[in-house]
């Protein structure tokens, strides 16, 4: 009897001491980049296709280095021709929403949505300049809420700050004058954060974290010149996003950070804020969801 008990105990201890192999996670990258028939179109943008190329290659490299499955859905308009995942195809924002609705993800997967293109005066994404239909913040965020997983949106478009709900109880110190950033002293947030603790009722962010290139009253820029390598070839915000992700701009190639690096949404946000030129930050002030929780993007 004692021998049987000992055998069972040893078996249980042996099984419990074995490390379960962690389930491989997934990174899904959905990117929409529209150049509005550059170079000849009205309101054409030169750089969205390059933004998508660089961000997709860097995110793909980071995903594989993190041991994750990688999926990408690239909606591109380049010189007026539309492509989906490199194949010529006429797509519109219904196709984008359909793709999002069909994603097969788990709660611990990561979905990154990137947009580089125009935003209209309400902040809605202008995925198609030839029609009046726009992808509003409400429609896109509804679609994102329906996806399992941690979702990060990076929006390089005018007035994109409209996508970010002011949760109220966490406050940064940004103060604006005539639409431009006048002060970002954290002490500005002392009283607003205290008041926000008590009057805001909805504290969640639906597992969605957003960085927008500008406030809901500011334009973003197709490029910016701060003297950094290759800067003129990329959207002003997307350039700093790519840098923060670790892309090697000088050699135009993906570059991995050291092994052991953990990249989170807010470590990326911190890096963007630190590296962005002050004059750009003043006129197109990046905005971010403020939450106590932080999704881990990549763990090398």
């Amino acid at each position: 009897m004692i021998k049987r008990i000992l055998f069972i105990l040893i078996s249980v201890l042996t099984i419990c001491s074995c490390e379960m192999t962690p389930q491989q996670g997934k990174v899904v990258f959905v990117s929409i980049a529209v150049d509005y028939n550059a170079p000849d179109g009205i309101n054409a943008l030169d750089n969205p296709p390059e933004d998508q190329r660089v961000l997709s290659s860097q995110i793909e490299a980071l995903s594989y280095a993190s041991g994750e499955i990688y999926e990408q859905y690239l909606f591109l308009e380049k010189n007026g021709i539309r492509y989906f995942n490199g194949t010529e195809k006429k797509w519109n924002h219904d196709d984008i929403l359909y793709t999002l609705s069909e994603l097969d993800t788990l709660q611990s997967d990561l979905v990154i949505l990137h947009y580089s293109g125009h935003g209209d005066s309400t902040g809605a994404l202008v995925t198609d300049a030839d029609t009046s239909s726009r992808l509003s913040a409400e429609r896109l965020l509804d679609a994102m809420r329906g996806i399992d997983g941690r979702k990060c949106l990076f929006l390089d478009s005018c007035f994109s700050g409209v996508f970010i709900d002011d949760a109220g109880y966490m406050q940064n110190g940004d103060r604006f004058e005539d639409g431009n950033l006048e002060s970002d002293n954290i002490l500005n947030a002392f009283i607003p954060s205290f008041i926000g603790t008590f009057y805001k009722k909805d504290y969640g962010n639906d597992n969605i974290w957003i960085i927008a290139a500008a406030t809901e009253e500011q334009n973003s820029f197709d490029n910016w010149d701060s003297g950094l390598p290759q800067q003129e070839k990329f959207g002003a915000f997307s350039y700093y996003l790519a840098l923060a992700l670790g892309y090697d701009m000088e050699n135009d190639t993906p570059l991995l950070p050291p092994k052991g690096t953990r990249m989170t949404f807010y470590s990326l946000w911190e890096e963007i804020r630190k590296s962005m030129a002050d004059d750009l930050k003043r006129e197109a002030t990046p905005q971010a969801t403020l939450s106590v929780t932080d999704p881990v993007l990549f763990s090398l």
Partner: protein, 177 residues
């Protein structure tokens, strides 16, 4: 809660007449902090982290060698939390201001309770937030000026409940009135 506040208010004028000793202190603490996030309740996870703090209590008085009233302050750093389902809580700095009442059950043992207000600077998010809570302490003074305290704290910030416990080294600087 009401009784504690009334007791504190009654003790304040009493202290002017009674045997009152100014009893400031310094403290060093290391604590475990567990956080429950309402929005992620169904994931059944507690986000765990470590908190270290230095404290000072210059406004502190001991009355009749039994009761201690003080306004302790702390500067703390809470490290990055554990990761659950790809989600973590980034580290942050905080300052604490409390209203504390302590009672010496014996010469060497004190029990105490405090109401805490905490200002949190989330440096990675670049944002401020506030937290409010209550703590209880059991302190043993093996030496006149040195105590070891075990705190138990619960605090609330919007959508998040925090629980703390750990060890505090208390150095009392006693002065005769």
């Amino acid at each position: 809660m009401k009784r504690i506040i009334i007791a504190v208010l009654l003790l304040l004028p009493t202290s002017l007449l009674a045997d009152t000793v100014w009893s400031p202190s310094l403290s060093l603490s290391v604590e475990y902090e567990g956080s429950h996030i309402e929005e992620h309740e169904e994931e059944n996870a507690i986000w765990s982290t470590a908190r270290t703090a230095i404290g000072i209590s210059p406004l502190s008085m001991t009355i009749n060698e039994k009761h201690t009233l003080s306004l302790p302050m702390e500067l703390a750093y809470t490290a990055d939390s554990s990761v659950h389902g790809r989600l973590m809580m980034p580290g942050y700095f905080s300052t604490l201001l409390a209203l504390r009442y302590g009672y010496h059950v014996s010469r060497d043992v004190e029990i105490a309770i405090s109401l805490d207000t905490v200002l949190q600077w989330h440096n990675r998010q670049n944002a401020l937030s506030w937290r409010f809570g209550m703590s209880t302490y059991l302190t043993w003074y093996p030496f006149t000026n040195l105590g070891l305290s075990i705190p138990l704290s619960a605090s609330w910030s919007p959508g998040v409940l925090h629980f703390n416990s750990g060890l505090i080294l208390v150095f009392n600087i006693r002065s005769i009135q």
